[in-house]
């Protein structure tokens, strides 16, 4: 199976080749350099007119992309480091993501903003963060995060071509060189990939809205050990940290006879709860793992929605996340701030 980097790069190549409306913009993305993380390598050589290197103007680029999208193009923007999405917040929240609704559905803004995110590269406090928690929950914005259990290239293609609304596409830096798991080769596991049923959210009287997820293309993977006793704990995670959860699940099963079910959504916002709820209904326990800071994040929302849905059927719930601190540069400090496999194993043992 290919690496995530290869899959994303191929998806961009194919997007440019198959549709003239696609333009790719970002800082230092031209060949031979091909972008800070090489996701755009080879693109400008093949499509010099539609691969645009930009000044260091994150907000400006996203605004320009939104303007292009309003006028019929399909722009894909790279933000060099995910940490810098703070700079695009106004353009995303008060412009791109808002236009469709505030203009009474008279316009669409089909942009994709891709950005590498996350730590464990020693880049220090401003180049290692996990920032999507500040963008999930924004009305009109879809936030996606691929992992290696489903095809990141396919997800990116769908974000470009099948989604008329703005997408923030989070690529954990450590995913790039990992290979995509071949579901046939995950021999120890029962493996399901599902896209949420369109009517799942049907009518949430709660907040007085009906979610139209008919266009929900982002898959969620569920894994549980084959021929094992029924799982007693659901572990939900997204992005790179799914790998940790996977390692932890194997360890928990073989060392401690704790059987878990893994649930990996690729859509963070609107919050994709379908598989998490159905799994937690079976196991009664939910452990949520994320690389972002612990408080007020994705995990908090997932657990809140699960509690609202399951009531007393939810026996216990916990979050594993980074400490509420900036990310240090020094290796041992960074490791101490970020969540690891060991944290997942320990938390799981305490919960069952």
């Amino acid at each position: 199976m290919p690496t995530v980097l290869y899959a994303l790069n191929a998806a961009l190549q194919n997007a440019l080749a198959s549709d003239e409306r696609v333009v790719i913009m970002g800082e230092d993305i031209l060949d031979p350099y091909g972008g800070a993380f090489k996701v755009t390598r080879g693109l400008s050589d093949s499509f010099p007119d539609r691969v645009i290197t930009t000044p260091i103007s994150e907000a400006g680029i996203v605004g320009i992309a939104a303007g292009m999208a309003l006028r019929g193009l399909l722009p894909v923007v790279e933000i060099m480091f995910g940490d810098f999405i703070t700079l695009i917040a106004d353009q995303v929240i008060n412009h791109a993501a808002k236009f469709r609704w505030m203009y009474n559905d008279q316009v669409r803004v089909p942009i994709v903003i891709r950005t590498p995110m996350g730590g464990r590269r020693g880049y220090g406090p401003t180049h290692s963060q996990t920032m999507e928690k500040f963008f999930i929950g924004v009305p009109g914005l879809r936030v996606l995060a691929p992992n290696t259990f489903s095809d990141p290239g396919d997800l990116l293609s769908k974000a470009i071509f099948e989604d008329n609304d703005p997408v923030l596409f989070i690529e954990n830096k450590l995913l790039y060189l990992n290979t995509i798991h071949d579901s046939n080769r995950l021999s120890e596991f029962e493996f399901f990939e599902q896209t949420p049923e369109p009517n799942f959210y049907h009518h949430s009287k709660h907040n007085g809205t009906i979610a139209d997820l008919s266009n929900n293309y982002a898959p969620t993977c569920m894994l549980s050990l084959r021929d094992a006793p029924p799982p007693v704990l659901t572990i939900a995670a997204y992005g790179y940290i799914s790998e940790f959860a996977y390692q932890a699940a194997l360890n928990l099963a073989y060392e401690y006879e704790v059987f878990t079910e893994l649930v990996y959504p690729t859509q963070l916002s609107p919050c994709d709860m379908g598989a998490i709820l159905s799994s937690t209904k079976r196991t009664g326990r939910l452990l949520v793992v994320e690389e972002g800071t612990h408080n007020l994040g994705w995990g908090a929302e997932v657990i809140a929605q699960t509690a609202e849905n399951l009531g007393s059927r939810l026996l216990s719930a916990r979050r594993i996340a980074a400490l509420n601190l900036p990310i240090p540069a020094s290796g041992p400090l960074e490791e101490a701030v970020l969540p690891g496999i060991e944290h997942i194993i320990q938390a799981a043992q305490k919960m069952v």
Binding site: V23, I52, G67, M68, R71, F99, P139, D212
Partner: protein, 312 residues
């Protein structure tokens, strides 16, 4: 270069100016009655800018406007009743009541109420039109206070680098909300644009017939040369920033209302019969549009909030 422009006749220009004036007066007069939601920023005193700039645009041209956008919308050809209705939050409003005064979208007209943020978007639209080999250009309005926003300069840089077919119209009314320009804008305004190699024309006039030919010339250049231009219009805001929040010296404003009123300046060109007929027509029209909008239904929230974007 000389460009031929099919300038509207004096009567039409007068009607266009007066429609905006009477609309804005009706807005301010009726706000205390509680018929509108939120707030408003009226275009009183600046009417000649929108009418002059937008008189000669093509149907495909795009206008991106800001918080003070009623005049731009009406000069673009927007419907008075649907603008009233939008301010009243009615289903018949320009955006069904979702947007309100500062958030309009109709045909190729867009507006947003966040200072400066529209400038890169308008630039992107211009670049898209250029990529599509269309003939359309973009006209983006901003105020002097908006020069404080950093993203404006990111956009100017890229507009010049990539030669976007866009006309930036800077309406310098010398004040931003309550802050006079001396307290907010350092240095030279036109130099800001020139520094990016964007050619600038500057006028200090409230005469639609002075603004119109200069704007038309710039628009023709933007269109034919596929290149950005700036028009700085030194102008005066007669009314409050929004409602009843004017801290300026009243005598100064009264003086401006005598010297720099675009309606009075242009009215001299009409014979009195035509002038009166237009005034009656506009007043009647505004009154009817207001009454219709008032009678229009408010949205049914149980239906109007469904569908469309992803919630949760």
């Amino acid at each position: 270069m000389l460009y031929f422009t099919a300038m509207s006749d004096d009567n039409t220009l007068y009607e266009d100016l007066l429609r905006i004036r009477r609309f804005e007066e009706a807005v301010l007069d009726n706000f205390p009655k509680g018929v509108f939601f939120g707030t408003t920023h009226t275009y009183l005193g600046q009417e000649a800018n929108a009418v002059g700039v937008l008189d000669d645009i093509h149907s495909g041209d795009i206008v991106f406007s800001n918080h003070r956008g009623h005049g731009h919308f009406l000069a673009y050809g927007g419907d008075i009743r649907s603008l009233f209705a939008e301010l009243m939050g009615k289903t018949t409003g320009v955006c069904g009541g979702r947007g309100g005064s500062q958030h309009l979208q109709w045909q190729n007209f867009y507006s947003n109420g966040v200072q400066g943020g529209i400038i890169p978007i308008a630039t992107g639209m211009a670049l898209a039109e250029k990529r599509k080999y269309s003939d359309a250009i973009v006209i983006a309005f901003m105020g002097d206070g908006t020069l404080g926003e950093g993203v404006v300069y990111e956009a100017l840089n890229m507009a010049s680098l990539w030669q976007a077919p866009i006309l930036f119209v800077l309406e310098n009314n010398r004040i931003a909300q309550t802050t006079p320009i001396e307290m907010a804008v350092a240095g030279d305004i036109s130099a800001r644009f020139k520094a990016f190699n964007i050619m600038v024309r500057e006028l200090d006039s409230s005469d639609v017939k002075e603004i119109l030919p200069v704007a038309a010339e710039l628009i023709a250049e933007v269109r034919s040369l596929k290149s950005p231009r700036t028009l700085i219009l030194n102008t005066y805001r007669f009314g409050p920033h929004s409602k009843g929040d004017d801290i300026r010296d009243k005598h100064e404003i009264d003086q401006l209302r005598v010297e720099r009123d675009p309606i009075l300046i242009h009215a001299h060109r009409l014979d009195s019969n035509h002038k009166e007929a237009i005034e009656l027509k506009v007043e009647k029209y505004i009154q009817e549009a207001f009454n219709q909008a008032l009678a229009d239904p408010l949205p049914d929230a149980s239906k109007a909030l469904t569908g469309s974007i992803n919630h949760q």
